[in-house]
Every structure is written in C-alpha cells, then in structure tokens.
C-alpha cells in the first residue's frame, strides 16, 4: 500500500503532529529536532541503532518523557505540561512496553478492568465484558483468572496489548514489544499486532522485526542520533535506501 505522505490530496487527517521536538538528558540529545505527522490508520515502524532515540520519541508522544522543546498534538489536543491534557491524551493512546509491565498483584482480568473503571469510569459489568472481549481478541480468553506470573512471556505481552485496547485507544504505541520474548513466542505477538493493523488501528511501532515492517507498515522511519534520517515506504527503504547511515544499519540487520 504505497502512498505519498506529502500528498496534499490525502483526505485523512493527522492524528499525531510533532513539530521540532527536542528531548535532552543532560548533554545527550536523545531526540533532536524531529517533526512528524502520522495520519489516522497509518502503521508506522521506527527502526534505528541502539540509543538513537526511538524509545524517547515514542515516550514523548504520551508524555512519559517531558519534551525539552517543540510541540506535539494528539487527536487535536496540544500537549503542554498541564496534567489534565496529558491524562486526556494518555486515555486515547495505548502503550505496550518491552517488559510488559503487567500489574503482578492483579489477575489478568483485573489488570484489564482497572483503568477502565478508574479512568473511563465504566461500570464493573461493562469493564468485565470489554476485558473478555479483548482477551478473546488476543487469543487467550481462558487465562482471565490467572496471575501474570503464571503466563508465558508471549501471553503476558498479549494481555498487555488487551489491557491497552480495552481503553479504546485511537493510537497504539509499541516499544520493542517482542524484544524480551523467546523466538517461539514472537510470532504469536506479531500476529496480534498484524491483525490490529489490518483492522485499521493507528500504530507506531519500534521494532527490530523487519518481517513485520515489510508486511504491515505503511511507512518506515529510520532514526539515528536523535534525528529522523529517512521516512519512506518499507519497500523503498529495503531496496533503495537513500542515506549511507541507513545502508550501513540495514546491512547489519538484514
């Protein structure tokens, strides 16, 4: 599904707009003057060497990191330090972490219910129904009443995805969702993500899984040194990278 991101005729609106984003940690410029627009329904994969600022960029989108400069709009809301806006945006943006970060003191079902009742103020019944629906969607409806520690890594990550989906997010952010998994479990998680992409979810995915990028991504971004080096469609990036740094990186991982 090739399309030109600069196409003026593209009717889809941008759900995420990033302008001149900077994030410094002391003297380290983790994100350096990044501008991006992501349209509703797009699946964007971000790749790049370790320390290139992929996670930091992702975490700025839901303000887990406070930007040092620049502006971010999510679904029309300008993110400032105001905690009200931040919490509103976080409600609309689901995030999946490398380390799953399930709540170990709660069962799988309770993990998925908690934010629904506390944040979305859904009734218990509504929340349970939604939780079961999402568990079925990620393929483990039978695990509702176990604790996270009793699950395999792949199952835990699928619960984490279900937990984020239960909030009806408009965007899903994934930060290396399969990097902590044994090879045989990577596939089951990628399958869930592929289905999400097919259903039209807007996704920003940091990953080293080039297979996923080729199959699911509308767009692939290569980052290095905190900057976006290349921003194009996957087939182009893999067959005809424009920058020498991209070529070097691809030659190492492909």
């Amino acid at each position: 599904m090739a399309f030109n991101i600069d196409n003026k005729d593209d009717k889809k609106e941008s759900i995420i707009i990033i302008k001149n984003l900077d994030k410094h940690f002391g003297r380290v410029k983790a994100v350096n003057n990044v501008s991006l627009e992501i349209k509703t329904g797009q699946v964007v994969v971000i790749i790049g060497p370790s320390g290139s600022g992929k996670s930091t960029l992702l975490r700025c989108i839901n303000y887990l990191e406070t930007p040092s400069g620049g502006d971010i709009w999510v679904d029309g809301i300008h993110l400032t330090r105001k905690s009200k806006d931040i919490n509103t945006v976080r409600r609309e943006v689901g995030m999946v972490f490398q380390q799953f970060n399930l709540f170990p003191h709660l069962t799988v079902l309770e993990n998925i219910i908690l934010a629904q009742t506390v944040v979305r103020q859904r009734s218990q019944n509504e929340a349970v129904e939604m939780a079961r629906k999402q568990l079925a969607r990620v393929g483990i409806p039978e695990k509702a009443n176990v604790y996270p520690e009793q699950l395999s890594g792949g199952q835990q990550q699928r619960v984490a995805i279900a937990r984020a989906l239960a909030m009806n997010p408009k965007v899903m952010l994934f930060d290396e969702p399969t990097s902590a998994l044994d090879p045989e479990m990577i596939k089951e998680v990628l399958e869930v993500m592929l289905n999400l992409a097919k259903e039209g979810m807007t996704m920003v995915v940091v990953t080293h899984e080039m297979g996923f990028a080729k199959n699911a991504a509308d767009r692939i971004i290569f980052m290095d040194g905190g900057s976006v080096i290349e921003d194009t469609i996957p087939s182009e990036l893999f067959t005809d990278p424009k920058h020498s740094r991209t070529k070097m990186f691809l030659s190492k991982i492909l």
Binding site: N62, L64, S83, N87, T88, R90, R91, V93, G94, M95, F97, Q99, N101, L102, F103, P104, H105, L114, A115, V118, V119, R120, E149, A160, R163, A164, M167
Partner: protein, 288 residues
C-alpha cells in the same frame, strides 16, 4: 571405609539438624513455664502480677494507639519522600531527619515539657482573647485548658502517645519510602500510560504491591515500639515498667519484680516476632 564415611555424614547431618533447631525458643518457653509455675506457687510473684496487670493494659494501649497514628503519619510522610514536589519533599525530609536524629527519650521529654505546654499556652491565649472581646465567657474551655483543678490538663499518657507517634512516624516513613521505591518504574509508567493520574496509580498499582513488601519491617517496628513504650515511665505513665519500679521500690523485691517485668515484655515480643517470621515466609513464597 564406606561405613565410616556414612556414619560420619550421618553424624554431621544430625549435628546440623540439632544446631538448626530453635533452641532459643525452647529456652524462652521453659523459662516462661517455670515462672508461670512459680507464680502459682509463690505468693510474691502472684501479688506482683496482680499489681502489674493494670500496667500491661496501659502498655498495650499506648503501643497500639501510637502505632496506628505512626503508620498513618509514616505512610503520608513516605509518599512525601518520593514526591516530585520540592516543598512536600523537603517538609517530609526535614521531619524524618529531625526525628531520626533525636533519641526517643529526648523526644518524649521535649513533646511533654516543651511542645505541649507551649501549645496549651497558645490555645489559652486564644480563649482569653475571645473572652476579652466578649465572644466567649471568661471561663470557656479554651481559657481553662491547663487548669488542673478543672481537670483540663493534657494527660501525660496523651503526651507520651504523641511523642511515640511522631518518632515512629518518621521511622515507618522510611520503610514506606523504601517499599514504594522497590516497585519498578515500569509499574508507574504502565499505570500512567493507561490514563491514571499519580494518585490513582499510587493507590491502585504501587501501594498494594509496596505494602506487602513492608509488612515484615512494619511488624518489627511494632515490636520495637512495644519495647520502647517503656520509656514513657519517665513521665509517670503507669505502664508495666513504671508499676514495676513502684512495686520494687516499696517492697524491695527487686529480683522478683523485674523478673516479672522482663517476662511480660518477652512473652509479647517473642510471640510477635514469630508472627513477623511467619508473615515473611508467606510473602516470600507468594513471589512478588
């Protein structure tokens, strides 16, 4: 050859098993049983126990009430110690550092003889002022506070409880802080990324996990407080220790009185520390 090795290793195993038994508990129990036996046969012990019974209730009352206030104070202060708000953080830290730097006995004396009279004087002043501008009658409660003849003095047991509470509030604050900090950063991030605010995340995600981890150290704090509550005897509060002092001074039965005093504390602390050990084991088998 094989035989001797076998018997040697059996012997080692036996020694290990014997060494591993809780002999100390056996000795304490035997001592306790022996003393309980002598209470029934020995008239002096019997009358000492009768005299100290009232003190047992005072000791328990002081300990329980102080502890309840202390962990409430400690939880709030602990949250202040991990707060990103510089004012809250510094107020909490100042309190913790000051209280941890003072001997508890000094805190008890200070609260009882400096802070309480000062507070009472301030309240009196408000009462007298209000009476002067005819808002209250001249003998209103505020103006009379501190008047012993009117029975409106702050009881020394209350002062003792206040002092123990603020002391132990600081100790348990550090326990709560360590507990909260032991929960990985990812938990807070996951909660926040689901749209929870800081307090919701604390209440539903961080604290439920942290509190499980701090139960054993909090239990040890309770035992420490039970023992340290004996310091309130300097205020004349009639706890076990104070009654023991009174009894021994008038009867000259020092040995038997303090045997009794020591045993009463020991029975309580040994039972409590076994309870803490069991809780610890339970929690460690639970995993997180």
């Amino acid at each position: 050859m094989n035989d001797t090795r076998n018997s040697a290793s059996t012997q080692v195993r036996l020694t290990n098993t014997l060494a591993g038994l809780p002999w100390w508990l056996l000795i304490v129990t035997l001592a306790g049983l022996f003393m309980i036996y002598s209470f029934y046969t020995d008239k002096t012990y019997n009358s000492i126990f009768g005299f100290l019974k009232a003190g047992l209730i005072v000791t328990m009352r002081v300990t329980f009430i102080s502890y309840a206030i202390a962990i409430t104070l400690g939880l709030l202060t602990g949250l202040g110690r991990v707060s990103k708000n510089p004012i809250i953080y510094n107020v909490a830290t100042l309190y913790v550092q000051v209280m941890r730097g003072l001997p508890i006995l000094v805190t008890i004396l200070y609260v009882s003889f400096v802070i309480t009279p000062w507070l009472m004087a301030q309240i009196n002043w408000v009462g007298v002022s209000l009476a002067n501008i005819n808002l209250l009658s001249p003998d209103n409660v505020l103006a009379k506070l501190g008047d012993r003849s009117a029975g409106l003095n702050v009881d020394f047991e209350v002062r003792a409880i206040a002092a123990l509470s603020i002391s132990y509030g600081a100790f348990s604050a550090e326990i709560f802080r360590a507990g909260i900090e032991s929960i990985g950063r990812g938990q807070m991030e996951a909660a926040r990324s689901l749209g929870m605010n800081y307090f919701q995340a604390m209440r539903h995600v961080i604290l439920p996990q942290a509190i499980r981890r701090v139960l054993p150290p909090l239990g040890n704090d309770f035992i420490a407080m039970l023992k340290e509550s004996s310091l309130v005897s300097v205020l004349g509060v009639q706890d076990i220790t104070q009654l023991g002092r009174l009894y021994s001074a008038s009867s000259f039965e020092y040995l038997k009185t303090y045997n009794m005093v020591a045993l009463m504390y020991l029975i309580m602390t040994v039972i409590l520390s076994l309870g803490v050990k069991i809780t610890e084991k339970r929690l460690s088998t639970d995993g997180f």
